[in-house]
Symmetry: C2
Subunit: 337 residues, 2 copies
DNA sequence: GTTATTAATGCAAACGTTTGTGCAATTTTA
DNA sequence: TAAAATTGCACAAACGTTTGCATTAATAAC
């Protein structure tokens, strides 16, 4: 291994002191009245030997690492990998690197992951929280590093968040069904206590109630997995009171539901209509293309980073509890009745 | 912000010296004959105050950060997000954290990203390289940190890699088509100089030639994007010599091809058969489900991490150029003729 | 009752930075 | 021409660890 370049090695070669070199390389030359000549000599030598500062040493000294932690539930879920993508690029745009970790939707892992991030002295944490209790993250936010939530958030907590207006999304889907003559509409949920789930269901229920539709048919489950979507839909399709429309609360649930629907020999649209939450390239290639409530993932990621940066810079002039409007993308999975 | 706990703060409270505390907390108590009592006092105090060592300081001192860099082409591609997932979890399994970065399939960004990882003193780098010239990464591997390649690799380079036996995959797909009576088989490629592309095409061509099929119909393009798959297929379908089967070299190309096929009013299987490279949950939900050559992503990720760890531990007893066999997953996108 | 061993712990340097302060040399002011 | 101000840079401490070596006290050997 080649000896790593450092301020010391450059100092030895140029004859200038470590502090002078540090100042030059940090653009503080004029502030400290370093001579033109010194600046010239030092910066060209730094370039020549391809000097890269040690972010470890830098971080140790300054307590800033230019690193953000990003905690999501599961990288495999395209919704989260999209968000991660945005966050990573936005952060990079502002000179930050992100460490991505997933909690596997499990509070124990979440804590461990947070601990690991903090031991790396991340400047802040952007997270999709998985527990029901905000206390842990609030404590981190107050005592260790600023926290910004995305997707999931807490009711009675000061923690900043940016998410979709899930209530509105729930309403949009349901109203769309109603407008097309559906009356028996089932709603297949994911993690029941999560805010997105709660709000989507609330939107759905409110619209149903308002339309005077007696029974709100929906099944409640464990998590946002394909398997769960499959099982719930299976149950649903075997029940007496079969719906004409299904509102699946995530892309994963949708896949599970489709599997169950296929197995029943039913055809989407012809036999049973479907609207899903979440957007995704693949949804246009399914049979039929799926009508869906798309979340503005780009904006969510971008705003989360923005809020984080403001917080890191000590500014406080920004709204920090943000719900962005979803969008209905109309395709062919809903029939008129 | 709460004052961070450190060896110093624990030292002050327990009365033991920093070195003693360090040794106890690193499990070196008996090696240094620390008394039972000291061990007891120190570890309980560390637990009480929730001490977490600073990995910055640790890394600075020991030159080991327990961090790996992972460079992929594009997080949004499900193939890469799958691999990332595996690598991240395997690394975690062995006590390593990974920093994920993408090069956007662009040599300039690749270099910048490597530089950034090195300034963070990652212990090693696992990468899907994007250039044609191995020199840069070889240099890093020799002088800075061990490098392990995945997916793409170089012919005349000592760099370790783990990838799929793409040649075999190319053969499998083509033979499958032949066995079902197809003679006019087109192959839609991605990044033409990348090893996976080259090898898949070679497998395809060899089989065609061997079967005495005169013309190898294939189009060559720019990258593995959906758009590229779309454009190439569009061209292909407008040509005189329309094929009865298409071999798409990645999941992204497949989507583009499907779009073009749909637009031509053709039906997959009935009118034109398709086999794609890569595996993915969604492929089973397409219309029809797509027959495909699946790469063993789990094994690729796992082995890459394993090779990296061996390299970090100075062991050298492992084969470091590995091609794993692909698997044909038979679905409904290929018709008999 | 010396001397050698062993047990238990502390000292201090080093990793590569940043930054407040100090100080000599030069220039300006009066 | 002496005092004051400015210019240009270096010193050294600090960030939180690890680790080779030193030190002290107690025990064992003779």
């Amino acid at each position: 291994m080649m000896k790593k370049e450092s301020l010391v090695s450059i100092s030895k070669r140029t004859g200038y002191s470590i502090s002078t070199i540090s100042r030059v390389l940090n653009g503080q030359a004029e502030k400290y009245r370093i001579s033109k000549k010194a600046v010239e000599v030092i910066s060209s030598e730094a370039k020549r030997c391809n000097y890269t500062p040690s972010l470890l040493a830098k971080g140790l000294r300054t307590r800033k690492t230019k690193t953000l932690g990003l905690i999501i539930l599961n990288i495999d879920n395209p919704y989260f990998s999209n968000i991660s993508n945005i966050v990573i690029h936005q952060a990079k745009e502002h000179g930050y690197t992100v460490i991505l970790a997933d909690s596997l939707e499990n509070e124990h892992d979440e804590r461990e992951v947070v601990r690991s991030l903090l031991s790396r002295q991340v400047d802040g944490i952007i997270a999709v929280p998985c527990g029901q209790d905000p206390y842990f993250l609030e404590d981190i936010n107050k005592n260790s590093a600023p926290v910004v939530l995305i997707d999931r958030y807490y009711q009675n907590s000061g923690l900043p968040y940016v998410s979709t207006n899930n209530y509105q999304g729930g309403r949009m889907a349901t109203e769309y069904f109603l407008a097309r003559g559906h009356k028996k509409i089932a709603c297949i949920c994911g993690t029941p206590y999560s805010m997105p789930s709660i709000e989507r269901v609330r939107g759905y229920s409110d619209v149903m109630k308002n339309a005077g539709l007696e029974s709100e048919i929906f099944v409640s489950g464990e998590d946002f997995s394909i398997m769960n979507g499959y099982l719930e839909t299976k149950l649903l399709l075997n029940s007496k009171n079969k719906p004409t429309a299904i509102f699946t609360l995530s892309n994963t649930i949708l896949l599970g539901a489709m599997k169950a629907i296929n197995e029943s020999g039913l055809k989407i649209s012809e036999d049973i209509s479907v609207i899903s939450f979440d957007n995704n390239t693949y949804l246009d290639y399914l049979n039929p293309p799926i009508t869906r409530i798309s979340q503005p993932t780009d904006e969510i990621g971008t705003l989360a980073v923005k809020i984080m940066l403001q917080s890191l810079e000590g500014k406080r002039d920004m709204e920090t509890k943000i719900l962005l409007p979803p969008e209905l993308i109309e395709r062919d999975s809903v029939a008129k009745r």
